[in-house]
Symmetry: C2
Subunit: 197 residues, 2 copies
């Protein structure tokens, strides 16, 4: 089973893509650990693993996180145990993670599949961010500058998906996942079984 | 467009797979050069590029062949120019080549896709070779020994296809080709275009 990391700039539509993908029965979504306060609608172990700062720091020290980051004074990270258990249970795990975190995952799991979602045009990215109507021009400009920086790192990713049409993007990600399962380094057991039968 | 190398032991069904694949309009089959005599049913530039020994040796000297081999006193090789032209014309080129030749292609084109076709079981491979009823037990045993040797090299290939069901095998190869086109190192132009629009 595969570790599939999905990244992309704000406005690339990666969140929608992930929500569509988990409708397929082979995928499970990675659950992050966080120190931020639990909202009323959220459930521990479903939306996040809610941790105190001490607990989170202990996870860092004991190398229990595949990657972590601080954002607005709160910590967010990916617990290794949940990812590994999901793989053992026979699912492909989806990790929606920003660029630096994604590269950390690749460092720990060389066979992780890194997929970068991009908008069809930069203008479209800008339009999407403006249409959201939830952010100031300053925040939007910050996100656009950051998007350009992130896009320069595209070569670090294994695959690029242009999110012009949602159905097409989902189909392409499923194609990548099916294809990756046929990679020779994942077929050692298949070869051995064939030779002995 | 992609250079797709298909290999597999005798009896793996690689020939049938290649014949099915070229029915899809994105593929063209690589045409080999050979010094063997043209048969009445064969056409120069369609089935083979027929060459004299001197012409063939000149092609070797001028590095015009991606790989070549001698078999029963005749030379067989893959002309580079035909492969390159086919790619330029916008087709994926299929090269049906044995293991050593395939590894030579990978050395010359790092982005070539090497696909290894295996039978579902070794017993099935044996059965297929016996059912052909065209070869002596000695030749069959030679082919089986050679198959085991070739199968040890599976890690040198990018992908392994178990040819249990022909339709499934064709579908899997098409999946690999579609997926490979989404690889980030093939998307430089897509990224640049996106950033400028």
């Amino acid at each position: 089973m595969l570790r599939v990391v999905i990244s992309g700039p704000s406005g690339s539509g990666k969140g929608t893509i992930v929500q569509e993908l988990i409708k397929y029965k082979n995928y499970k979504l990675s659950i992050s650990a966080t120190t931020r306060a639990k909202r009323k609608t959220e459930e521990d172990g479903v939306h996040y693993f809610f941790k105190t700062i001490d607990e989170f720091k202990q996870m860092i020290e004991q190398d229990e996180l595949l990657e972590y980051t601080e954002f607005c004074g709160n910590f967010y990270g990916t617990p290794k145990s949940f990812v590994d258990k999901t793989i053992q249970d026979g699912f492909d795990i989806l990790l929606e993670i920003e660029v630096n975190g994604a590269l950390n995952i690749k460092e720990k799991y060389h066979d992780a599949i890194l997929i970068f979602i991009i908008p069809p045009t930069f203008t479209k990215l800008k339009d999407r961010l403006i249409q959201r109507n939830t952010e100031t021009t300053e925040v939007i400009n910050y996100r656009l500058t950051r998007a350009k920086e992130e896009l320069k790192l595209f070569k670090e990713y294994d695959y690029i998906i242009v999110n012009d049409d949602l159905d097409q993007a989902i189909k392409q990600i499923n194609t990548i996942v099916e294809s990756e399962k046929l990679r020779s380094f994942r077929q050692k057991e298949v070869i051995e079984k064939m030779l002995n039968n």
